[in-house]
Symmetry: C2
Subunit: 394 residues, 2 copies
């Protein structure tokens, strides 16, 4: 009488950071088994996924081992070599997102060229080979300062420089040369703020667009996100969502695509960066939306119908907990009594990571009807966990 034990498909996840950890949390709820490739036995996601292999994602044999008997592989980061993804695809493992899509999140020059072909609005940009070409670019793009970026390998503000003259280009070019990558010059956009448009997209083409959020960066690191972006003109919100949907479709992205944008002071939106994985600017959705980005990422890569991305209340604010550089700050766990006692509606996410200065070790989320109240609650809690309280009053 009993049906045979029939197990759901095992999803392979490459990379053991907090994004994989939060995917795992959603997978527990959906009853989906994960197999993890982790950088070490104690990294964030390896603490919570029993079926974890420790190894190097740059090694094809390791990737083949972790994806054995898995129909689908997805990623905590965008650093798996493209040629390995092609090899896995040739083995019959569906890479989601696939290598043709992922290259646009790996290589900023490829991304810029593709977005130009799609007529997606971007800052003026050019691949440059030396300081003279930077000067030529500056002359054509409103003058110095200009932004220089390594085409590959940058993240969280690393691999990005703002240069005020050709003389300041030495470090960027040396860095790029040492890494064997090129340099992309971009106009320094006069922007009012940064926005982010997230979509989930499945292999069969269904897509779900989250509300457009405002993100505040500090030193190139996401600091605070407000959902939805306050006072955003309806036509800009729609344009940002349409850009994200168009890019996701044109590039055949599967899973979460985050499109980070500038809202310019003259009322346009320009694409800054693409990320093809759950993204820091989507963490608010875990507590603030009907379907969090991690659940929708899993549903998308497994080609299951997507969940509603709508917000559950008028305002949600997420603030990152960054590791303090103060030596006398106690363990993060010690932040709980005050944070929870002060705000019984607060949601806290800690990633199981050791505190190091500037490291993303968790985030807090508050939601409600009153933006000022929600923002104050989230900022207070994050500052408390960081050990910054009293030093920072915003």
């Amino acid at each position: 009488m009993n049906p045979p034990a029939q197990k759901p498909p095992v999803l392979a996840v490459v990379g053991g950071g907090q994004l994989a950890r939060m995917m795992a949390q959603s997978a527990v709820g959906l009853g989906l088994p994960l197999r993890l490739l982790a950088e070490g036995p104690d990294v964030s996601a390896a603490q919570v996924v029993p079926d974890a292999l420790v190894g190097d994602y740059r090694d094809l044999d390791t990737l083949r081992k972790v994806t054995e008997d898995c129909a689908v592989v997805t990623f905590d980061h965008e650093h798996v070599p493209t040629e390995h993804l092609h090899a896995l695809a040739a083995d019959g493992v569906a890479c989601r997102p696939g290598p043709e899509a992922l290259v646009h999140a790996q290589d900023k020059a490829v991304m810029r060229a593709r977005l130009a072909g799609l007529d997606v609005p971007c800052p003026r940009n050019a691949v440059v080979s030396d300081a003279d070409e930077v000067a030529d670019f500056a002359a054509s793009a409103g003058g110095f300062p200009v932004v220089l970026k390594t085409t590959r390998g940058g993240y969280d503000g690393k691999g990005v420089w703002v240069v005020g003259s050709p003389q300041e280009c030495a470090v960027p070019f040396a860095t790029a040369a040492a890494a064997g990558v090129r340099v992309l010059a971009e106009e320094k956009v006069d922007f009012r703020r940064e926005l982010s448009a997230l979509v989930a997209r499945s292999p069969s083409g269904q897509a779900a667009a989250y509300p457009v959020v405002e993100s505040v960066q500090r030193n190139g690191v996401c600091h605070e996100v407000t959902a939805p972006a306050p006072d955003l003109a309806e036509e800009l919100a729609v344009e940002a969502q349409q850009i994200a949907l168009e890019v996701a479709g044109a590039l055949d992205v599967t899973g979460i695509l985050a499109v980070e944008l500038f809202e310019t002071t003259d009322g346009r939106v320009l694409v800054n960066e693409l990320a093809m994985r759950p993204h820091n600017t989507g963490h608010w959705s875990m507590d603030g939306a009907v379907t969090g980005q991690f659940e929708n990422h899993l549903r998308a890569v497994l080609d299951l119908p997507l969940g509603s991305p709508e917000a559950r209340q008028p305002w949600t604010v997420m603030v990152n907990i960054l590791g303090s550089d103060q030596a006398d700050v106690g363990p993060l766990f010690d932040g709980y009594p005050h944070a929870f006692a002060r705000d019984p509606r607060l949601k806290v996410h800690l990633y199981g990571k050791d505190v190091r200065p500037g490291r993303k070790v968790g985030h807090v989320t508050a939601y409600g009807d009153d933006l000022d109240d929600v923002r104050e609650r989230a900022r207070h809690a994050a500052a408390w966990f960081r050990g910054d309280l009293g030093q920072e009053s915003e």
Copy 2:
């Protein structure tokens, strides 16, 4: 400069069922490491907790091993022998809930006596030794039928009989005798419906009361829960919450206490059962309340301030997915495409358990402003996953 790696306390959890699995899901978010004692390597929670030991919770050495270096132990079920809990407490491990509290969830005669001492309203009841005593009890409590229960070991309708005459008492007494337990007789209450009042309570005495819910049982198994209980008189809701808070305090319960009640046809509430762990009638809170019962259970047993138990929307309906007895039903995972496509706001929780007839293998939750709509969505989805669609139209 770097603060030393300072780990949060490890919480030991005894029992590897779905309640432990859902505790683990909350623990991932809070950054809390768990150590699990599981009945087997593949049970529900063992699939998602790397630090799992397989062993027998009736063995004290095993309990000592799993709680080694853990300050606190909590439970997926109420079956750990009381003497072992006292031994762990003597070792310095805080049992939450503790043995003095837990005995009231383990032994129905002890529970009834204690509640009588607290003047908590209960069905009339008496411990009975034979059919003659059942007849005497019936004569004093409105006549047959009466309910007979083994004082220990029953759950989900097992160990409970409704007897219409002294002649029907043989099986209950034989069952109790074989198990070495007593028999409790209770008046068969003329009830309108069943309610459940959940509270979380911490060792320092903070308590949070969830909205009182309506639960529908089938064959003694929880089938559907509506939060809050529709059309419940305010004074009965308050009384139910006060009963739960009073019982939790008087019995020094730590963690979640579920008080299952009858709402009688003459407008009273009477306590039916107590459970001292996250409870099926609280699953709605995972998606429907600001703080789910599993998160609040963890916060309570670790003596952290509790999260708000308030509902996030007017109505939430949870329906269990019970294993089908049809041999041709496919794997649960195959239910996802239709269920998710039909209802993008649906929340599904699958427990990683093989389907067996009548077994709790998952639950679905819907929430919203319109009770009829919410109920229809949840019932449809659960029926679909069960493979019952078309056979059941309610």
